[in-house]
């Protein structure tokens, strides 16, 4: 177990993210890819994700302002968004994007809008949590190798 209190705290924070469903197994994959050669891999990927997905979010927002909705386009954006969200293990965000796509497929404009609002919320929440997490991680110093939660 972590001796360093900071590390302990970090571990707890991390576990909470999993327990609360913000992150899934995929995040662990990222952690496993982090090693000495790639010490900040997880953070890099997450940063990259937030940077690119921000653009997508913007595009979707703009698309939702144009009526009538171009469901195909929206679906396309969301498909991409879902792909990258799932790559970092953003569980809730991914669930919301699935919902959004369902609404797109059924042509439910209102449903899309609602789902999108939810999605943005989850997206923002996760971002904050991860930012806090990484900040702590940097403070705590090099972590032990991640191990899969049993």
């Amino acid at each position: 177990m972590e001796k360093n209190p900071m590390r302990r705290q970090l571990a707890i924070m991390r576990q909470a993210l999993f327990d609360q469903g913000y992150l899934d197994e995929q995040f662990i994959q990222l952690e496993e890819l982090q090693d000495d050669a790639n010490p900040n891999f997880v953070e890099e990927v997450v940063t990259s994700y937030y940077r690119d997905s921000a653009r997508l979010i913007l595009k979707i927002e703009q698309a939702l302002e144009r009526k009538p909705f171009d469901f195909n386009k929206l679906d396309g954006y969301m498909h991409q968004f879902k792909g990258s969200s799932s790559s970092i293990g953003a569980k809730k965000v991914k669930a919301e994007s699935t919902l959004f796509r369902e609404h797109c497929n059924s042509g439910n404009g209102e449903g899309c809008v609602r789902a999108f609002q939810q999605l943005k919320q989850e997206y923002a929440t996760l971002k904050k949590k991860l930012e806090a997490y990484f900040q702590l991680a940097r403070q705590a110093g090099p972590m032990e190798t991640a191990c899969r939660p049993k």
């Binding site: 890819l33 990927v45 991409q80 879902k82 293990g89």
Partner: protein, 633 residues
């Protein structure tokens, strides 16, 4: 253990060091993918653009063992990339997507993906992807090469597969007989010596040719190897050798077409209307060319329409290197014939017009091809020229036209190719569209018709093998023979066959290459070149390249665009239906064919002759004459 291995160290440690090309427009996913792959100890190259990926792959086909690509990409559909890679480079491709819909997965598989992975990726999944490389290499090797010749004892040599193949083809080229033997062994084909043995000829009907072209397109001009084509075609009783020779012819045809296309382009310039089309075509690379060409059929039509059939003839007359007297006529005849044939006539006329403007022998050929193609495009409306071009589907149908167009575009000014030796080429090159088998045959026929002039069955050749793809056949079949084209073209062609195997740089099909030949390649050469050029573009070309087994008569096919049907007035001189191909024999006195056609004829003759008599240097000893003609279509 490495003692017997010749592979490099990396290969020895396979799958470690396996070279993967990863393509994904999403940077996050790409980063993840790259890291995962590196963790598996693969050698990773990444790009976020499909176009860049293609470029990288085309630069050096042997640089990568495997490609992983996302399905959803902005610059190019992942499936399209998949197809292209499979065809051109014959590399295993794994698709990636966040969407796991059965339909999509099915689509991936049908497009040739080795595997379909879902995002998010896990390392476990990637750890086993090397199996695809091994599997492919192993089966290819087994299928293709008969025991051993270049088989590597280790199957893991992922990278070797391609090399092997290439080597094999090269080897084949160098040593045809030997190869044939190998082939025989492999296929149990008793086609031992094409020249000496008269095997029952395989009739490359429109349908068959179309399948061929389709297969070639699917595999990619550069990567189309007989074995694979055969597999894709899935035709009973068709041997690899048949495919090989057809492929060879087709390649020649394509080459020819490209040259012709260049010339045509020149003509087009003259014509004005088609310019854009042509240039468009010229720029097409690889498969795209086909489509474009197909699409441009309207242009053709337009262009053709403006031209009176006679125009075509005129072109044929261009002495550029045609030397063959007869050729031009046949070609012309066909062209004109085409026009007559019916709806396709338009096309034909166009072709002809092109041809005419081109003023090159090559043009003529091209024209012929074009017409052939056009015909096809026209859905074979009574197009006799191509014989039974089944499809009018532009994309596929027109091998001939495509090739022609390409030829035009390439601006090969040396039409001589076309007329000449390229006769065979022409035929072959023209068909880009793989499916244009039929058209290829038509072309071939027409080519051959042209060839007939010389009295040889060249007419077969002339038919402009529509199947550019077909021409690909790097098989030695043609190689030996096509190469002989005495003139530069010959060289080019010669090399072409060999190169057929090689991933020809992705220059829009060899057309450009051929065109550059400009040198008035002696008939034979021309032909070959065209074929080569055409290869790329026109899969259809000359399937007739079945040199080994096809006797001159075979050539006729391509062009034999059913001359019989329409008013063969023009063709009558030599429209000979052979094997379903209409061999248009350019009447020497045929009004149409001015001397220019001679080149075509020469080519055809050369081709045919080659077939018949290797030793005999038919126009420029393009043995392939016969081939080209025939296979072309």
């Amino acid at each position: 253990m490495t003692v017997e291995r010749v592979i490099s160290e990396t290969k020895d440690q396979f799958p470690i060091g396996m070279r993967v090309l990863a393509v994904d427009d999403d940077p996050t996913c790409l980063l993840l993918l790259e890291t995962l792959l590196r963790r598996c100890q693969y050698n990773v190259t990444t790009t976020s653009q499909a176009i860049t990926a293609l470029k990288l792959l085309r630069e050096n086909k042997n640089k990568f063992d495997l490609v992983i690509s996302d399905v959803h990409m902005p610059d190019m559909d992942g499936f399209k990339l998949l197809e292209l890679v499979g065809l051109e480079m014959d590399l295993p491709v794994i698709m990636l997507s966040a969407n796991g819909d059965t339909k999509l997965v099915m689509k991936g598989i049908t497009h040739g993906a080795c595997d379909y992975l879902l995002k998010p990726l896990r390392i476990e999944e990637l750890q086993n992807i090397w199996q695809h490389v091994v599997r492919r290499k192993k089966f290819d090797r087994k299928d293709r090469y008969n025991s051993g010749s270049q088989d590597k004892p280790h199957t893991e040599a992922a990278g070797i597969g391609n090399v092997d193949q290439n080597r094999k083809f090269n080897k084949k080229r160098k040593d045809q007989n030997e190869d044939e033997d190998e082939d025989h062994d492999e296929n149990g084909h008793d086609n031992e010596d094409p020249l000496t043995q008269k095997k029952p000829r395989v009739v490359w009907s429109v349908e068959l040719h179309r399948k061929f072209v389709l297969a070639v397109n699917q595999l990619g001009i550069d990567k189309a190897v007989p074995k694979k084509i055969l597999e894709l075609m899935n035709v009973e009783k068709l041997t690899r050798e048949n495919v090989a020779s057809h492929l060879q012819k087709f390649r020649l045809y394509l080459k020819r077409l490209s040259c012709v296309a260049t010339q045509q382009a020149n003509m087009a310039a003259a014509l004005g209307s088609v310019d854009s089309t042509y240039s468009r075509m010229g720029s097409l690379n690889g498969l795209e060319n086909f489509h474009t060409l197909a699409g441009s059929d309207q242009l053709h039509n337009a262009a053709f329409r403006s031209f009176p059939p006679s125009g075509v003839l005129g072109i044929l007359n261009t002495p550029a290197g045609l030397g063959m007297h007869g050729l031009p006529s046949p070609g012309m005849i066909q062209l004109s014939h085409v026009q007559n044939s019916g709806s396709t006539c338009n096309d034909q006329s166009k072709l002809q017009s092109f041809v005419i403007s081109g003023n090159h022998n090559a043009n003529i050929l091209q024209g012929m091809q074009m017409s052939l193609e056009l015909d096809q495009l026209q859905n074979n409306k009574g197009v006799s020229h191509i014989g039974e071009q089944p499809t009018a589907n532009n994309t596929t149908v027109f091998p001939v036209s495509v090739s022609l167009i390409d030829a035009r575009i390439t601006g090969c000014s040396n039409n001589p190719l076309i007329g000449i030796k390229s006769k065979s080429l022409m035929l072959e090159g023209s068909s880009q569209q793989a499916t244009l088998h039929a058209s290829a045959s038509n072309l071939r026929d027409s080519v051959s018709a042209m060839g007939y002039q010389n009295g040889n069955n060249l007419s077969d050749f002339t038919s402009v093998a529509p199947a550019p793809n077909q021409l690909w056949d790097s098989k030695a079949d043609l190689q030996g023979q096509a190469c002989p084209i005495s003139c530069n073209a010959g060289q080019i062609i010669r090399s072409a066959p060999q190169e057929l195997n090689d991933p020809r740089k992705d220059a829009p099909y060899q057309l450009n290459v051929l065109c550059s030949i400009n040198s008035s390649i002696p008939v034979n050469g021309a032909m070959v070149q065209l074929g080569q050029c055409l290869d790329r573009n026109n899969p259809i070309l000359c399937r007739n390249m079945d040199l080994d087994s096809i006797g001159p008569p075979n050539f006729v096919d391509p062009l034999s665009i059913k001359h019989g049907e329409g008013d063969n007035s023009a063709l009558e001189s030599s429209a000979i239906e052979k094997d379903g191909y209409l061999i248009v024999q350019p009447r020497p006195q045929g009004s149409y064919i001015p001397d220019n056609i001679g080149s075509l004829e020469d080519l055809a003759n050369a081709m045919m002759r080659r077939e018949q008599d290797k030793g005999k240097p038919a126009n420029g000893d393009f043995g392939c004459n016969a081939y080209s003609l025939r296979t072309c279509i």
